[in-house]
């Protein structure tokens, strides 16, 4: 049987070329397995061959990521790898990040499956968990053999194009990826069975995981409102008529920033809403209903607030995936902060 061609990525330390002082080393290669790669080779036996080891200094990878990735991918492709193994990185943060980035890029750019391994709290873990097979390890290299056993087994499976078993069975981290499947019982049967278990004080497992959005610490209150610059942000999809930025009416992939300096109100002829989830007729009649510019201008004139920001920020909230909404919020916040905005009137629908 053909031996699965494995390429292994390690950092400068595990490649045996040096410690922290060599963390700036650019991408290099060695034929065959090196360092922990020899254990990997032993574990895959005749079923696989570690044909190449690629290494780079942790600092080099962090500071010159693009160069490092391009160089490494080039070598991986030349070596005709059928699977890429990166790490195990345990709790080494820069190493784990490099493992995660390289594994993901090899998958998306070369279409080569990748498996990596690291400690759950390594920053690289969450970076790639959804896209790449990650084996959770202990905190340090004392767990090398245990980790490599799982890595070796998964590398062969992935290299052969075999489907992996469920995460608990095959030893890799759940991707947090929901996938539709067939059950032996209907939803109705499962619902009544679950209710009877709940009523009978027996254990049951909810089929939809409870979301955990984490905790956001609120900003401190404004000290002096009469000096504060206020901005408006909306998920109600207010855009200039014609929607020049093409914000989608559902599952928006972008947000817009629109100039309102000198405007007393939002004229219906110039503004509209592209939100796809509710009846926007009232907004089209009077856009200030969604974005209260008219009221804010009154407050500005009366000296209740310091000023209104020259821009408002807008996107469509309908069907927005949480990770995108989070990213939009971070980007908009950065823009407002740079402009000296202190408080936000946020309107949703």
């Amino acid at each position: 049987m053909e031996r699965i061609r494995i390429v292994h990525y390690v950092n400068q330390f595990f490649a045996g070329v040096g410690g922290e002082t060599k963390a700036g080393l650019p991408v290099g290669t060695r034929p065959g397995p090196v360092g922990p790669g020899t254990l990997l080779q032993k574990l895959v036996g005749d079923a696989g061959e570690v044909v190449l080891t690629i290494y780079a200094g942790d600092n080099y990878f962090a500071e010159k990521t693009e160069d490092a990735v391009r160089a490494a991918l080039g070598r991986i492709e030349e070596a005709r790898a059928q699977v890429l193994v990166t790490g195990p990185a345990f709790n080494a943060g820069r190493y784990g990040t490099a493992c995660a980035v390289l594994a993901r890029r090899a998958q998306t750019e070369l279409g080569i499956p990748a498996v990596t391994a690291m400690f759950r709290e390594n920053p690289g873990f969450e970076m790639c968990r959804a896209a790449v097979t990650v084996v959770p390890t202990g905190e340090d290299a004392a767990g090398m053999s245990a980790a490599m056993e799982v890595v070796a087994r998964l590398a062969l499976k992935l290299g052969r194009g075999e489907a992996l078993g469920r995460p608990e069975e095959d030893g890799y981290a759940a991707r947090g990826q929901r996938r539709n499947e067939s059950h032996e019982r209907t939803g109705a049967e499962r619902a009544i069975a679950m209710l009877l278990d709940k009523l009978g004080a027996r254990s049951y497992v909810s089929e939809i995981p409870v979301p955990d959005f984490g905790h956001v610490v609120p900003a401190p209150p404004i000290v002096d409102l009469t000096k504060a610059k206020i901005a408006m942000v909306t998920t109600g999809g207010i855009v200039p008529r014609g929607n020049p930025d093409g914000i989608e009416s559902r599952r928006a992939t972008r947000w817009g920033k629109y100039h309102i300096a000198g405007l007393d109100r939002l004229q219906p002829e110039k503004w509209s809403s592209v939100h796809g989830g509710f009846d926007t007729q009232f907004i089209h009649d009077t856009p200030d209903r969604q974005l209260p510019l008219d009221i804010l201008r009154d407050l500005e004139r009366e000296g209740v607030i310091g000023s209104v920001h020259d821009w408002f920020y807008s996107t469509v909230g309908a069907g927005a995936p949480v990770h995108r909404a989070r990213a939009f919020g971070q980007e908009i916040a950065a823009d407002m902060k740079a402009a000296g905005v202190q408080a936000v009137i946020f309107t949703s629908t």
Partner: protein, 431 residues
């Protein structure tokens, strides 16, 4: 209240000079059907007979209705539509088991920002297994309206004609002896002397939002004041669907007529549980105080029914899921344990949070699948219903293909696939 449901299996659908049923074969006289349901708003009505495995793609699906005839206890099988709004669920009803009227119409544009969403049924291919309507023998009606009708008028016409067609098709079995009989009677609790089985209520939110999408209860749109319902009522034609929003999670009339949760509760009644009744309420209540009012009232009715537990289904979604969570919260606060049945929107890759809103009390949820997951459907040379996909305001993202082409779509567009009354075996798991 005792309902006897007589089932006549349909294993084959064919055309013939008269409409009749014999040994599983339903023969349909298309001209007779057209005459029986003639309506001034309908300029032309296509009638197609589609059997499972035929390789046909149905688009612009508006509703699916099981053929029924009221034999004893009323004059029509859809009170409020084909009969006075008498209480359904008593007497004798005959059904064609394995047949369905499927109503298609190309209804474009919007009213109050609401539009009809694309709804597809393929009866072969990768998505066929997920919808019950690939396994039914479908009498497909494609509507062509006279000019000048508003969208609500078009949809009202479809509803009225479709229920009449459902009765017309079942009429041949009115006087026949059914091969299979079921009795639905929760007043009889045989063998319930050893201990008291838990009392269970089924809570069924029904959607109503605007003038396009609704649910009809005895011919009238569902209101935001919850009501106690007898399970037989829902099984016997009291509910007619008028929800034409996202296809995967709307419930067709057929889903209510064959409500999987009611059937399962009934199967377990008297043994594992005491099925005490149904509470129907509105979801997609547009005013937040009215949402609170509705949730409080649902919990009150469950308490008055003496419920120990409640199973909650769902219809549609969006802020309707907020109604569901509020109702769950109030019921749990009343000391009644809940289980929810609902679809999730976890993004195409399955990595997004699947719920729009969650409350801590909702700790027992059954999923009917992630409707964002995508599937590639094969090219299908025979398409009924229209020549282009509906996609008002780019709400769903462009399909970019003709209906007869192969194309990739989220499950959202596929009718019945993520139905939240618990019909299917589709489940989502975390990998």
């Amino acid at each position: 209240m005792r309902l006897e449901l007589g089932s006549f299996p349909v294993t084959r659908l064919s055309a013939g000079p008269t409409t009749s049923w014999r040994d599983g074969e339903l023969t349909v006289d298309a001209d007779g059907l057209r005459r029986a349901v003639a309506h001034e708003n309908v300029e032309a009505l296509e009638v197609h007979l589609v059997n499972p495995g035929d390789g046909v793609r149905l688009i612009h699906v508006l509703d699916v209705i099981e053929p029924r005839v009221k034999v004893v206890g009323g004059r029509g099988a859809f009170p409020g539509f084909t009969d006075a709004p008498r209480v359904a669920g008593e007497g004798v009803t005959h059904r064609l088991d394995g047949a369905a009227v499927v109503a298609l119409a190309e209804v474009m544009g919007s009213v109050d920002g609401q539009s009809v969403k694309e709804a597809i049924i393929d009866n072969v291919g990768p998505a066929a297994a997920w919808t019950p309507f690939s396994q039914t023998h479908n009498v497909v009606l494609v509507f062509h309206f006279v000019a000048g009708l508003t969208i609500p008028e078009q949809l009202a016409t479809v509803r009225v004609v479709s229920v009449r067609a459902a009765e017309y098709l079942a009429e041949p079995v009115r006087a026949l002896t059914p091969p299979r009989r079921e009795v639905f009677d929760i007043d009889r609790v045989p063998g319930a002397n050893a201990g008291r089985p838990p009392r269970v209520v089924y809570v069924s939110p029904l959607m109503h939002e605007g003038s396009v999408h609704n649910t009809y209860v005895y011919g009238v749109k569902v209101s935001s004041t919850p009501t106690v319902f007898h399970p037989n009522e829902m099984l016997d034609g009291a509910i007619v669907n008028a929800d034409y929003h996202i296809s995967a999670y709307r419930s067709a009339t057929f889903h209510y007529q064959n409500n999987a949760l009611i059937r399962e509760l009934h199967a377990r009644h008297g043994r594992d549980l005491d099925f005490v009744g149904v509470v129907i309420c509105q979801c997609l209540v547009v005013d937040h105080l009215e949402k609170e009012r509705s949730a409080a009232q649902v919990a009150k009715l469950c308490r008055m029914l003496g419920a120990d537990g409640a199973v909650l289904s769902m219809q549609n979604g969006g802020h309707g899921w907020a109604d569901l969570m509020l109702v769950c919260q109030r019921i749990e606060e009343a000391g009644i344990k809940t289980v929810l049945v609902m679809a999730e929107m976890s993004d195409a890759e399955g990595t997004d949070v699947g719920l729009i809103m969650h409350v801590p009390q909702a700790d027992a949820i059954v999923t009917v699948g992630n409707m964002d997951e995508e599937v590639t459907l094969p090219a299908m040379p025979r398409v009924l219903g229209g020549t282009q996909f509906l996609d008002w305001n780019n709400y769903e993202g462009q399909v970019g293909a003709k209906p007869s082409d192969a194309f990739r779509t989220a499950l959202r567009r596929l009718h019945g696939v993520c139905n939240q009354l618990g019909h299917s075996r589709l489940v989502a798991r975390t990998h």
